[in-house]
Amino acid sequence: MASVELIDITKRFGAVEVIKGLNLSVPDGSFTALLGPSGCGKSTLLRMIAGLEDVSGGTVQIGDTDVTHAEPKSRGVAMVFQSYALYPHLTVAQNICFSLSLAGASKAAQKEKGDNVAKLLQLEALMGRRPAELSGGQRQRVAIGRALVRDPKVFLFDEPLSNLDALLRVQMRLELAKLHNDLKTTMIYVTHDQVEAMTLADKIVVLDKGVISQMGSPLDLYNHPANRFVASFIGSPGMNFLPAVVRMQPGGLHAGFEGGAVMKLTPRATPHFDGGQKVEIGIRPEHVALTNPGQGQIDGVATVFEQLGNTSYVYINTSLGQIIVEADQSVRLHPGDRLGLTFDPARAHVFDANGTAWAETT
């Protein structure tokens, strides 16, 4: 096990700078997710930690060792690829023991380690098969086994579940969580799926255009997004953003919506507040309540009603744009129904024109 320190890391491809002076500390034994949209630089960052990509500037440190220019094999890291990259001409056992075989380990040593890994990942019955004869989930487990057999200090996962179907993804997520719990090895996990990041990681790093947008625990990011980008990226369905004007009125800060509705906000740090400032109020679907028309802050018309069994989502057209509401499973609505909407002011987020959140103050 080891921590990973990235100090002032930059990466340029020609004139394009994809990672811009990034600093990140991954604690020893943690499960850290690098989360962001396609092209944000998360895979590049992971590949730089692995040594598969040269860094243009900065330092990569694993444990106490500077590995910035070290060969991948001498970094003590193992990587699980998105495509699994299982060698098609080798059996499961040979795939798992490939690194040992390259290092010249004896057949007996290979078998012993291979069997231990197979037992841990329940691959015993598959050891003689080739990758083409395995299901997606089995291939995934073999890929993990291949990483595991090297006893790495750090595991790197590059979107390992993205090729699996929804059901298998949930199952594998659980297995990965168990694995981390058992091994307590440092794991860095790249994903664009916020659900994976939220469920697996104890620390999420949200990347946007090569810089860290925010990092913290999953709930911290969910409940206290530092900016509009993080707020929109975390949570499914995404947060509703409503244009508003913030004014200081008797009793505190108030957000005024188009059409005259007003919502009292909880106390917040208000940088550069000049009174009458245009902002966006961010509110998650579960923090909007449905009421009768005229009884809420604004009214709207239901356009789509999605029932998921345990919950429902209502897409409502309002004068402020489309608002998504999470409703109780017992609610029955039809497109065209007119509704009132009430926002929970305690759960509202305020984003200024630059997209920066005004943090709540107590």
């Binding site: 991948p72 094999k73 990587m79 060698y87 090297r150």
Partner: protein, 289 residues
């Protein structure tokens, strides 16, 4: 007539038209196959006739008297054993070296980044455009200077120029997903291990196909071995069988039995690895086309 009936009728007509076209193509193909196979058939049948029967007037599609005396004669009175050995040694050497060298060169050009890589690649492509006969004189002078005339090495060396196999390997190595390479690098593989334990085994099919076609080419090669060897004991089978005619005069049955013996190993290899040979021919044709 309803629309459905009209459509069914039209479909039936189309099927009928297609079948006629298919039948014509089949007949033409069969005629073509007969035309191409007939000389082979004629050669084999003639080699099983007595020489007196060969020149008998009329189309004798089957021998009136069967004999293997021509084969016995060639096997017992000529140097064919030695020619087989020469062919075997030179063909196996050419095949092994060409495959290893081409795979190595293809791997280097495809996967390694080194100064001059692009120029090297263009040179290989350009060399592909130079016909081998145009180099024969140069090869002969070079081999003579190296005192390699009438040696196995002299026969082998000029046949090692095989840009097309380098091109094929390069293309195949290009198509290997980079994740395999990166996974192996993470596993601690060196360049040699990457080449021998990943890229070559993953492209085993193409290696087999290229090896077979190279072997057949080397076994059948005539022009260069004919020039590079003057001593009968160093001749390969293809060149050696010309000596059979010289030794015994024009005896068609004996000449053809020696030709059949010369072509037999290649025919056996072709029959055993038919699919691979076809694959290799398609690959080289694809490159050339």
């Amino acid at each position: 007539m309803t629309t459905a009936q009209t459509m069914t009728l039209a479909k039936a007509r189309r099927i009928k038209k297609f079948n006629v076209a298919g039948a014509i193509i089949t007949i033409l193909t069969v005629i073509g196959a007969i035309i191409f196979a007939f000389p082979l058939y004629w050669g084999v049948i003639t080699s099983l006739k007595f020489d007196q029967d060969v020149v008998r007037p009329g189309l004798n599609l089957l021998p009136q008297r069967w004999t293997i005396s021509n084969y016995i004669h060639v096997l017992t009175t000529s140097n064919i054993g030695r020619w087989y050995l020469n062919s075997l040694v030179t063909s196996v050497s050419v095949t092994t070296i060409v495959v290893l060298m081409s795979a190595g060169a293809g791997y280097a050009i495809s996967q390694l980044r080194f100064p001059g890589r692009r120029i090297l690649w263009w040179m290989i492509l350009a060399s592909f455009m130079v016909p081998v006969p145009a180099l024969i004189v140069t090869h002969f002078v070079l081999m003579a200077d190296l005192k390699l005339i009438n040696t196995w090495a002299g026969v082998i060396l000029p046949q090692l120029l095989a840009p097309v196999t380098v091109i094929i390997y390069k293309q195949f190595f290009d198509s290997v997903p980079k994740e395999f390479r990166e996974a192996a690098i993470m596993d601690g593989a060196s360049q040699f291990q990457l080449f021998f334990r990943l890229y070559l085994p993953m492209n085993w099919g193409i290696t087999t196909a290229l090896a077979i076609i190279t072997f057949i080419g080397a076994w059948n090669s005539f022009l260069w071995p004919f020039l590079a060897v003057t001593s009968e004991s160093m001749m390969n089978v293809a060149v050696g069988i010309t000596q059979v005619r010289d030794n015994f005069g024009v005896y068609y049955a004996r000449d053809l039995s020696s030709a059949v013996l010369a072509g037999l190993p290649v025919a056996i290899i072709y029959l055993l690895f038919q699919r691979r040979v076809t694959q290799a021919i398609m690959l080289t044709a694809g490159i050339k086309g």
